[in-house]
């Protein structure tokens, strides 16, 4: 899939911008703080409905302006043309239009445009806190599973309500059953199970691809292993009926991921049952503490490089390599699931990489569909790239095509 036109209005440093990107490679260059990342952020906003940076969504609105618009014309190999638009309001709320029609939910935008973003915040997936890894999973799974998005929103609400009830019960002890604790627990188990199931499945698909990419990036010198660390103990083989997530890769064909994230509605039931049991066992502790003590809000993932936790033991370069391997894997997974190449967004990655990783990255870009890549100077890019790509100079909130 590719963007054929991108329009920004009052988005970050842009008053108005209207560009027609190349179907293949787009190089955005310019000095610091000229608006390169903001263009990638706008594209990613259309794909994920979320801002790239932490903080309030309304911060994307240009200073002293009322609202920000991002609009794109899209061409999809499988579904033809589409016109997507998202408006960010000062209240942090967003409105969405697809082909000119206003949609009741912002989430309707998900699945229209698929992107893989790689930039400096991605180092946090490896080096940061568990919350950073959960955020990574949320964003990636949202792109391929609308059911996950719905379940996640409901779970958050239920968790908040249940925590409040547990706090009340501690402050003002009374019969928890009469107060409705069982029903909040049941809802927590139901939606929580959907989150566990999707995360477990997503990681089981991503891991072999990332491990393969990591081997290529390190010329086989380092081994990566990815583990899901769920916030409860999950039942053993929950996905017996699905294609084996760990195929034999030694001398065999490359791992071939499935085309779909959605499992039968019944597949989450055994997880829900395990979650229910563990919540029941933890009830006294929860009442004593006045809050929910287990669930997907405690999830984490571990990245082991040569058997050692990369968050603690890996060097900066090794951590960056793991992040890059994850992104390569994500790209392949998304490509398989949506059955066409997603749009690749690479923010300021060239300058940080050594020669080996750089050539690996270049090879990746070579095989990709539409790509947007930023850098502070054209010198950061190899001549082949500059010869082939459409060059855009970012300068004080303007973007000019220079070739």
């Amino acid at each position: 899939m590719r963007l054929t036109r991108l329009q920004l209005s009052n988005f970050r440093c842009y008053g108005s911008l209207d560009i027609q990107p190349s179907a293949r490679l787009n190089v955005l260059y310019g000095e610091n703080a000229q608006g390169k990342t903001s263009v990638l952020e706008a594209i990613r906003l259309l794909a994920t409905t979320r801002s790239l940076r932490a903080g309030r969504e309304a911060e994307m609105i240009r200073q002293n302006e009322e609202m920000a618009h991002v609009q794109a014309e899209l061409y999809r190999d499988c579904a033809g043309e589409a016109d997507l638009m998202i408006t960010v309001l000062p209240s942090d709320r967003k409105n969405v239009r697809i082909n000119g029609t206003k949609r009741p939910r912002v989430l309707d935008l998900l699945g229209q445009l698929n992107v893989v973003f790689f930039g400096s915040p991605d180092l946090d997936i490896v080096a940061g806190e568990p919350a950073d890894r959960r955020h990574f999973l949320n964003v990636e799974i949202s792109q391929v599973s609308p059911r996950y998005v719905g379940a996640f929103a409901q779970y958050k609400k239920v968790l908040e309500q249940r925590n409040r009830l547990l706090r009340d019960l501690r402050e003002r002890p009374r019969n928890p059953v009469e107060a409705g604790l069982n029903e909040w627990t049941e809802q927590l188990a139901e939606y929580g199970a959907q989150i566990f199931e999707k995360r477990q499945f997503y990681i089981s698909m991503l891991a072999p691809l990332a491990e393969e990419a990591h081997r290529a990036l390190t010329a086989g010198r380092e081994g990566l292993e990815i583990r899901y660390l769920p916030g409860i103990s999950l039942p053993g083989q929950v996905r017996e009926s699905s294609p084996a997530p760990w195929p034999a890769r030694i001398n065999g064909p490359a791992y071939d991921p499935p085309e779909c994230m959605e499992s039968p509605l019944s597949a989450t039931e055994s997880i829900a049952e395990a979650f229910r049991r563990q919540l029941a066992a933890a009830m006294q502790e929860e009442l004593r503490r006045g809050g929910t003590v287990l669930g997907p809000q405690r999830d984490d993932a571990a990245f082991l490089v040569n058997g050692r936790d990369a968050r603690i033991y890996a060097s900066q370069g090794q951590q960056r390599t793991v992040a890059l391997a994850l992104k390569l894997a994500e790209y392949r997974l998304l490509e398989k699931m949506v059955q066409e190449p997603p749009v690749l967004l690479l923010d300021d990655v060239m300058s940080d990489l050594d020669d080996a990783r750089r050539s690996c990255l270049l090879q990746w870009v070579e095989e990709c569909g539409q790509t947007f890549i930023t850098g502070t100077s054209l010198r950061a890019f190899p001549p082949a790239m500059l010869a082939e790509g459409a060059l855009f100079l970012a300068d004080k909130g303007m973007l000019q095509r220079t070739n």
């Binding site: 009741p104 939910r105 309707d108 609308p146 998005v149 609400k157 009340d168 107060a179 409705g180």
Partner: protein
């Protein structure tokens, strides 16, 4: 510069209304100020008369100006069917369909610890004597939100042991809606709440 005191007081009272921010409260206050005396008095009287004459129906907790509400007074309705709703406005929405001929029970809210709405604040206790008096089916017509679904579970787990049929309205495609344009969440819920044909 500050508003004259009575004006400031009106603005701050209006601001407390749901969905009214400081800006619209100001606009409303100035609008009322410009209105003829008569109009303002009619509004004030309407507000007072609602407070003085409207109470909860002794039977179903719907808002009414009599002992029993219009639905409960209607002897032609089917007393074996009881539809549980959160608010009077949900009852009105159901009535507008003209399709439902049973009785109602208005909970006057949904369970929500964050808003301090505990089971004893809802009209749940009042439900059981009614159910014991010959009701054959209880239809739960509550929103598909976390609060609505939790309240539905709460009621179902207490009604079912009494041997009463408990059903829940389907949450799915709006009638006349086109499958193709239904959002994913709606389609999924339509699928989840499917029934035999």
């Amino acid at each position: 510069m500050h508003y004259a005191r009575p004006l400031a007081q009106l603005v701050s009272e209006l601001e407390r209304l749901p969905g009214v921010g400081p800006k619209s409260a100001q606009r409303m206050a100035f609008h009322l100020l410009r209105q003829p005396q008569e109009d303002a008095r009619r509004l004030a009287e309407a507000i007072m008369s609602v407070k003085e004459s409207i109470r909860l129906c002794a039977e179903c907790s719907n808002f009414t100006d009599q002992e029993l509400c219009e639905v409960c007074r209607d002897t032609r309705r089917d007393r074996a069917l009881l539809c549980v709703v959160a608010e009077t406005r949900d009852l009105i929405a159901m009535e507008k369909t003209g399709e439902y001929k049973g009785m109602y029970h208005v909970l006057q809210g949904l369970l929500s610890p964050m808003e301090n709405i505990t089971p004893d604040l809802l009209k749940i206790r009042e439900l059981f004597p009614r159910v014991a008096g010959g009701v054959q089916e209880v239809i739960l017509a509550l929103n598909p939100t976390a609060e609505g679904q939790t309240t539905a579970l709460y009621l179902a787990s207490r009604l079912k042991p009494l041997g009463i049929r408990v059903t829940q309205i389907a949450h799915g495609l709006p009638a006349g809606g086109d499958m193709e344009y239904a959002d994913q969440a709606t389609l999924i819920s339509a699928l989840q709440w499917r029934r035999e044909v």
